[in-house]
């Protein structure tokens, strides 16, 4: 039997107590919509899934629940948006650098 974690206050309390079942509930009930939100910014499904997974890894390991002041869902929504925007920015810089090195006239691949 899994207890009912629909109530934010109860869920937060259990997360503070490092209850892994509470975390499991949080992860399985929120990853789908967070994924859709991440795709809408990144346009890349695989990266979106990775960012959502990363967010939950951070959430557990860095005890991010302590930063939640409003609702859990608004917190997660803002967190994934920030992550996605940071990613697109860094990815842009990364691609630019990659282009800078690979733009040589003679691109010879070793056999």
């Amino acid at each position: 039997m899994t207890p009912d974690y629909k109530d934010d206050i109860l869920l937060l309390k259990q997360l503070k107590a490092k209850n892994i079942q509470a975390f499991k509930y949080l992860y399985t009930h929120n990853r789908k919509w967070l994924y859709v939100l991440a795709v809408s910014i990144l346009k890349d499904k695989r990266e979106a899934q990775e960012l959502v997974q990363e967010l939950f890894i951070d959430f557990w390991q860095e005890a991010l629940h302590q930063h939640i002041t409003s609702s859990i869902k608004s917190y997660l929504s803002n967190a994934i948006k920030n992550k996605a925007y940071n990613f697109t920015r860094n990815d842009g810089i990364h691609k630019q650098r990659e282009n800078d090195i690979s733009l040589s006239n003679e691109f010879i691949l070793p056999a």
């Binding site: 939100l37 795709v39 910014i41 899934q49 390991q61 997660l76 040589s104 010879i108 056999a111």
Partner: protein, 354 residues
């Protein structure tokens, strides 16, 4: 603005199909009654790649189990460190890649014994009575336990049967380190390149495969490993069960799943034809760029690939390379289907993409 629900949550949840009835009602009302929200909703839908048909993935990492297995939450930091290391390595590799001189290739399957002696498996007279090299397969009666090293050249794949009954198919340009006889409580080998493994069942002696950045531990299974790209290991499980060890962590893989370890770990379903096609001499590529194709062609045909127009490197292709056909067949197909200009300079053994 005080709102009961986060609007992005409602939008994303509606697309993901994860809203409850109250929330569905709320978003339905908002979209139909509030002009501003309706516009935002339309923008949101338009920003998704497949509009309404975005299906969330099913292959999520089992974080709960991962956290339970780790004593302290140190995984993320190790992962981060690895990612940084991988990106530094990538820069070094690209640099070496661009400036390394053309390697000369020899077409021999080489077996280097633990004592340093090198045997050319293409020359039958070199094979002594302990080794049997028929039908492109090596089996042996030797019982020594030192590590031998088997290397396949460009364009050649080869099969070996180990003394515990395990069978290993090596793709071109792959190195396998193995002992003639396994001693102790484990069976351990090392692979660098691509191989398909059929591990003989022995519950008392787990089989451990050392890869460039990871280890795999199995009891008896069938799977493919690919570490051709530096920094990336791909393991695709066909049958049985398998554990990938990344640092202190263990990732369990189920049949039909492929795990990609490139500093981070990703699990997804794989296309058997695409991953295992090499064993039949076929290389399937889907949505691949010229860079990826250029890596396979030298490995299979022993040719040099030169991309004369750097801008075409990111163009995407789908198709198949048949190793048993001459390279000209592939070039003809590519020219007609992909509308790309290339020519094969036979005396120089070089393929130019223009």
């Amino acid at each position: 603005m005080t709102q009961k629900y986060d609007i992005d949550y409602l939008f994303a949840g509606k697309v993901a199909g994860s809203l409850n009835n109250d929330e569905l009602l709320e978003i339905g009302m908002l979209i139909s009654q509030d002009e501003a929200i309706r516009l935002r909703w339309n923008e949101f839908i338009a920003s998704l790649p497949e509009n309404n048909e975005l299906v969330p993935p099913k292959d999520w990492l089992d974080l709960t189990t991962m956290f339970q297995q780790s004593d302290k939450g140190c995984m993320h930091r190790t992962l981060l460190k690895k990612m940084v290391l991988v990106s530094i390595l990538a820069v070094i590799c690209i640099t070496v890649y661009l400036y390394s001189p053309k390697k000369t290739t020899t077409n021999t399957i080489k077996l280097q014994l633990a004592n340093g002696q090198v045997i050319d498996l293409n020359k039958v007279e070199d094979i002594n009575t302990q080794l049997n090299n028929t039908n492109n397969t090596l089996s042996y009666k030797d019982g020594s336990t030192g590590m031998n090293s088997l290397t396949t050249p460009v364009g050649i794949d080869y099969k070996i049967r180990l003394n515990d009954g395990t069978e290993i198919w090596l793709n071109a340009l792959t190195q396998l380190d193995f002992p003639f006889a396994f001693i102790g409580n484990t069976r351990e080998i090392t692979i660098n390149g691509e191989a398909y493994l059929k591990i003989a069942k022995d519950e008392n002696r787990p089989f451990i495969i050392h890869l460039p950045h990871n280890d795999i531990k199995v009891l008896g299974t069938e799977f493919n490993v690919n570490s051709y790209d530096s920094g990336i290991v791909k393991v695709s499980l066909v049958e049985g069960a398998l554990n990938l060890l990344q640092g202190e962590k263990t990732i369990s893989v189920k049949p039909g799943m492929e795990v990609i370890a490139d500093g981070k770990i990703t699990l997804h379903n794989f296309d058997e034809r695409q991953v295992l096609g090499w064993r039949k001499g076929m290389y399937y590529f889907y949505d691949a760029d010229l860079k990826e194709i250029s890596k396979v062609l030298p490995r299979w045909f022993g040719i040099t690939v030169v991309i004369d127009t750097p801008t075409i490197i990111n163009r995407k292709f789908a198709g198949v390379v048949d190793k048993n056909q001459p390279i000209e067949v592939f070039i003809d197909n590519l020219k007609t289907v992909a509308n790309i200009d290339c020519f094969y300079d036979k005396p120089q053994n070089t393929l130019h993409f223009k």
